[in-house]
Each structure stands twice: as C-alpha cells, then as structure tokens.
Amino acid sequence: MRVMAQMSMVMNLDKCIGCHTCSVTCKQAWTNRTGVEYVWFNNVETRPGLGYPRTYQDQEKWQGGWVRTKRGKLKLRAGGRAKKLATIFSNPKLPSIHEYYEPWTYEYDMLLSAPQGPHTPVAKPKSLLTGEDMKIEWSANWDDDLGGSKETMQDDPILQHMSEHVASEFEQTFMFYLPRICEHCLNPACVASCPSGAMYKRAEDGIVLVDQDQCRGWRMCVTGCPYKKVYFNHKTGKAEKCTLCYPRLEVGLPTVCSETCVGRLRYLGLVLYDADRVTEAASVEDEHELLESQRSVFLDPHDPEVVAAARAEGIPEDWIAAAQASPIWALIQKYRVALPLHPEYRTMPMVWYIPPLSPVVDVVGSSGNDGEDPRTLFAAISKLRIPLEYLAGLFTAGDTVPVERTLRRLAAMRSYMRDINLGEEPNEAIARAVGMTGTEIQEMYRLLAIAKYEDRYVIPTAHQEIARELEEISCSLDFDGGPGMGGMGGAGPFGSSSGTPVPVAVENFHVLQARQTADSPNGPSTSGRVNLLNWDGNGRPAGLFPPGSPGGAEGPGRDTSGDDTAAR
C-alpha cells in the first residue's frame, strides 16, 4: 500500500444554474491572453448537447483515454509509444480549432469613428486568427440552454450511444448543466501521451501540470485526454491546462471557479488513495465495474492502518486531518452520492458529480403530482428512463443501477427533510429505504444544502517553510524592454513564444500598464483613437481627447483648468 493524497472536487449538479460565472472568472484568471482565446479551462455545457470541443466524448472519433487489451493490459486508445512517435509529424487525431471555435472580437471602434450617415454603425465580428471579417458559427457554448439543439442534438455522443427510442421528445423531458474542469486523473492519459515528459502529476496533491519549459509542442496530450481538457496555445506552441489553481490551493484558498460559484455547488478536499492499485483498478474488464474499482482504490482516512501508512509516506499531520474532514470523501464513500465523469475512459478521473434529480422532480411537478412525495418520486426515478440512461451514459459507463441508487438517496433526502421542515415527525422508513439512517440523511443534508465555506473547501496548505515563491518579486530580467518583459511587451527575439515565462506579477503589471497607456491589440482600426470599452479610467492615453485646432494653444494632453475649460 502506497498512500498518496489527491486534491479533488465534487460538483452538485442539482445546484448548477448555468450562469457561467465559473467559466468567466477562470478565463479572467488564466486564459485572457492571446494564443488561448479559444481556451476555457472551465466550461459549462448544457446536456444534452455537443459539448466543447464538439463531440469530444466520441472516443471512436477522437481516440482519447485508455483501452483494455485482450490480455488485460491498459493501452492508450490513440496508440502506444511507437505509434505516437510515428505520427509525431502530424497528429491525425488532433481537433482543429474549428472543433472548438474560431475566436473573434468586434470592431468596436466603428461605433465611435464611423462617419455620419443614414445607418447606425455596427461593430462587425473580426477573427482573432486572421484579422478578417468572419461569420460567427460556433462558440464554446453555442447550444447553451438547448438553443438550436434541434439542429445539432442528434450528434450528442451520449444520445447516440443510448439504445432505443429517445429521438426528439427528450427536449421536453430534461436538460441540465455540466460544468467541467480538468479531471486531474489518477491514471492520466495526457501524461502518458506526452513524448517530452513535460506533463506530470504532482506527488503531493495529484494535480496534473504541464512544465512549460519542457513542453515541445508535440500535441499528443490533446489527443490523449478524453475530456479534451489539455489545450494547445497556438501562440507559444505549448500545451496548457487547468492547474486546479494550485497557487491558491497551496495557501489554502479554493480554486477560482469554486470561490466564485454562485450556486456554491463545488466541494474541494483531499482523498487518500493507494497508488499501487491504480493501474489494476483501471484495468478491470467490465466497464460497469470501473466505478466500484475506483472507489476501492480510495483509502479510509479514519482507518488507523491507513493513517500509519500515510505517516510512513511522509504525509503531514494536517493533511491527514484534512483528508478526514474532506467533503469529497464523505460524498464519494460515506454517502455515495457522487459519481465520476466517464469512468469508461479508464483514466480514474478525480472530479466527481452528484447527478441532478431536478429533471425528475420537474416532470413529476409539472404533471400535477407532489414532487417531494417519496413514493411518487421513487416511482418516477425508475420510470423516467431517458434522463436515467443519459446520466448513466455520463457517469457510470451506461449502468443505470448506481445512478438510480444515487437519485433515490437524493429523493429520500428531500422527502425526509420536508417532514422536518414542516414540523412533523420524520419518517425513518424513507431513510431505511435507501439504506441510510435519519442522522446520516441529516448530515448529508447539511453538507449538500447549508455547508459553510470551510466545510465545502477543506484545503491544507502546502508545506513550504522556505518561501521560494517570493523570489518572483525580484527578477533582474524584468526591466522595461528586457528579455523577461512579457505580456503586451512584444515578441522575444525568436518569435512570440521565446524568452523565459514571465512571472505572473510582472505580467499583470504590464497588462495593466498596457491597458492604461495603449489600446488593445485588437483595438480601433483608426489610429489615435481610444477604445473606451477597454479603458480602465486611469491615466490619459494618447488620443483620449480629439486633437486641438492646428494653431490653437491647447494640446490634446494638457490639463484642463481655468480658461481652457471655459473655452471648451
């Protein structure tokens, strides 16, 4: 037994309202740069839908993840080492940017600088790849809220795999949101696919990262990841991915997506697992067994034997304590209401989901029945085959039994707690029907419904008594125009990607400075104008005021005071 700690996440899909706040704040924090315009480390998909990139779940097509060979070994679906090297000059299974979407901006300046005319000026969309006019035909979230889904829905890989019926009436049946980040898998196929050895799993907390200095841009990780959560920065020629906001986690803060989640549906915490058993557990023959085999890899942090083994591995006491208080452990193993996304990819994903009960409740409610009555609800869960099968396609490789069990627990919780809220005696039979006790149901209810910040995010800080990170403050190369000056400062000598990566603080400084003093690179087409939408109110960029008359005394940049103001 080799105990390792894994930082993981659970999302409660019943609470997701599809507001995309997580996506937007993540983008602001991590991917608001050129080269990754099209990249969303966090995205929220409407299901049923095509996802982002389109049909990424169709592994027949994209060849992500692992497959089990006849001899019971795991191999990368896209091919092993030799095949990787043989196809290195042109990766046949790489999604093109159009599978994600062509990034664009708008010609905002036309709104300001268009000459007077009979028509209202419009801001035409401009491609960020070519700078040309473009027609917007797809985006990261084109089928949001089932918009336009009549056209595209039949291509949803999950629906295509579902056995019968379905067709069109599901649109009235259900819809839910699926927020996705990197799964930080226990058996990551992206890491296994990287020819350069630049991708790695952190031994301390299991976060999967890309070493930007070692990445050579072979693009195999993009193919390897079945969730398509490794992205190619087309400006720097390097792979980038969700970092689980490790700089925040190391100091005990939750990820940006969790912190800003409006519905408070995300939970963060540690799971202890047996690293020796991962490969074996990922290789079980029956896909339906994968859920249980992954659960069997997790170690009970309250077990004295596990605690002793963890200590022997050098896991610090506060980490063991955090693993014991982990909401992830509780949701996955204690209440067993969380399920992994696509266990059949055999990567052992570590972002789990509590499937939504709301589609079922909605149907029951809209048919005039009591949506919280246990008998109606239990009957409805097993009767509404389409949502059940669809959820099974996402979370259990098509096996409806665990999904049904989970939904019944959630339904039981609703009914049980309603009695308490109405001041009646709780019905213990409801709890027993789903194999729980009343106390357990109340504890689960606390965790799911009213858990506070520190209950949802149990994050031990990194042990770095040496504060090396603070070195970032002084980097001698970061003088103005120096080689370390990055961000908007312009390209290095060998193209835009060259030079050392710029410390975040320096990059922020330059981005801010550039925003104050210049316009965005995709700014106005007329020179000497300022894009007010991008101006943050500081400083006085050139062109903020129209040029004065040629003979006039006042220049455009002068302070306005006294007579000047009057003259205007």
Binding site: S96, I97, A203, E204, A275, A491, F494
Partner: protein
Amino acid sequence: MTGASTGSILLWVVFPYVTFAVFVVGSVWRYRYDKFGWTTRSSELYEKKLLRLGSPLFHFGLLFVILGHLMGLVIPKTWTEAVGISEGAYHFVATYMGALAALVLVAGLLILIYRRRTTGPVFLATTRMDKVMYVFLAASIVLGTWATVQTQLLAANHGYDYRETISPWFRSLWYLQPQPELMAGVPAAFQLHIVAANLLFILWPFTRLVHAFSAPVPYMFRPYIVYRSRDAAVASREPRPGWDPSEGPRAKR
C-alpha cells in the same frame, strides 16, 4: 594544406569551423536562455489537411536524406568496398534511393510552403525568422537535389564520385586536419549546396529548427505516468535529470 588558395581555405576550412562553432554555442545558449521558446510551434491547430500530407512527406523524406548523407559522407569508400559493396551497387542505391528521398522531401516542402502562404492564420503566425529560415532551408534542399540530378542521375557511368573528394574533405574537418584542396574540382552544384547548408546550420540555433534536437526518443523507455514532487521545484538542490519512476513517487517533506 599545401597548394590551397586563401579563398579556398576561407571557404572550405574557416567557414565550416565557424558554422560548427555557431551551431554548437548557439544551441547551448538558446537552450539555456530560451527553453520556453524551444518548441515546434505547430500550426496544426489552424490547418490539418495539407499538413497531414505535407509534414510527414517532408520529415520522413528528410530523415532518409540525413541517413543518406551519413552513409555517403561518414563511411569511407574503402569500408564499403571491404565488405564487398561494389561501386556500381553503391551508386545505384545511393542515386535512386537518394533521388526518391529528395523527391519526397521536395514534394513535402512544396506542400508546406504552399500551405504556409495560402492559409491565413498559418501565414500570420509566420515570423520573419521563419521566412529567412525557409529561404536557406529551401536553398539547401533545392541545390542538393540539383546536384543529385545533374551529377548522378543524368551523368554517364557512375556519375560524379563525391566519395573521392567531398567525403574525405568532410571527414578531414573532423580529424582537425582539413584538406581544402580536395574541394577544388567539385562541381558547382555541390559547392553551392555545401555553402547553403553551412548558412542553414548557422541560422539553426536561432530558428524553430531547434525542435529537431528534441526528438522524444526517451519516451520509448520511460514509465507512462510521470510524477514529480512539488518540493523539487522549490528545493535548493538542483533536481536530478530524468524521471521519478512511477512506482516510487514518495512524497518527501
């Protein structure tokens, strides 16, 4: 080095050594200074169809051409004759395999250049350095192909025997006993090809061509899953080269 003119010494002794020095020092410097810029800078994301055809043609063609160069330049004529390969057999293999490789290489190059010029995003992502590099790369390849066609394919008998002149000269550079006089009577096509190649090698460390050094051969031998300790990144000791074996990722704190 008796009997060699100053010009010939400059061209066939000084110039190759300067090239070598720039190539080696430049690459080391670039690796130390600019690991972040050390990448293929692939444009596959923008365009796939032409790349799918052109890139393997170009790269595999190039690999064969490099093999051919090694065979022709490094292995002395006496060695191949000692193992019983006649001049005729060698010439036949070298010429026709070489011509085939050149054909594949040139076809790939043409497709890639066409793609780079006509695909909007790919052309926009082309730096000035890329363009300069393309000129010298294409020049080397075209001149080499020309030399093969003119002096080997179209020539009578066994064609021009570079293994009597160019190859010994090339090896003499490595022995540090350069013999520029060997290059005196070499056909112009070969001479130009060598000059162009030298210029390309001088440019090499400063272009995206450095990705050739990153051929991921260790991938064949490493464990699939790579673990690294966070502590290694913040420790005062230099991390050891290589990978932590996947079965022993002990969290050291």
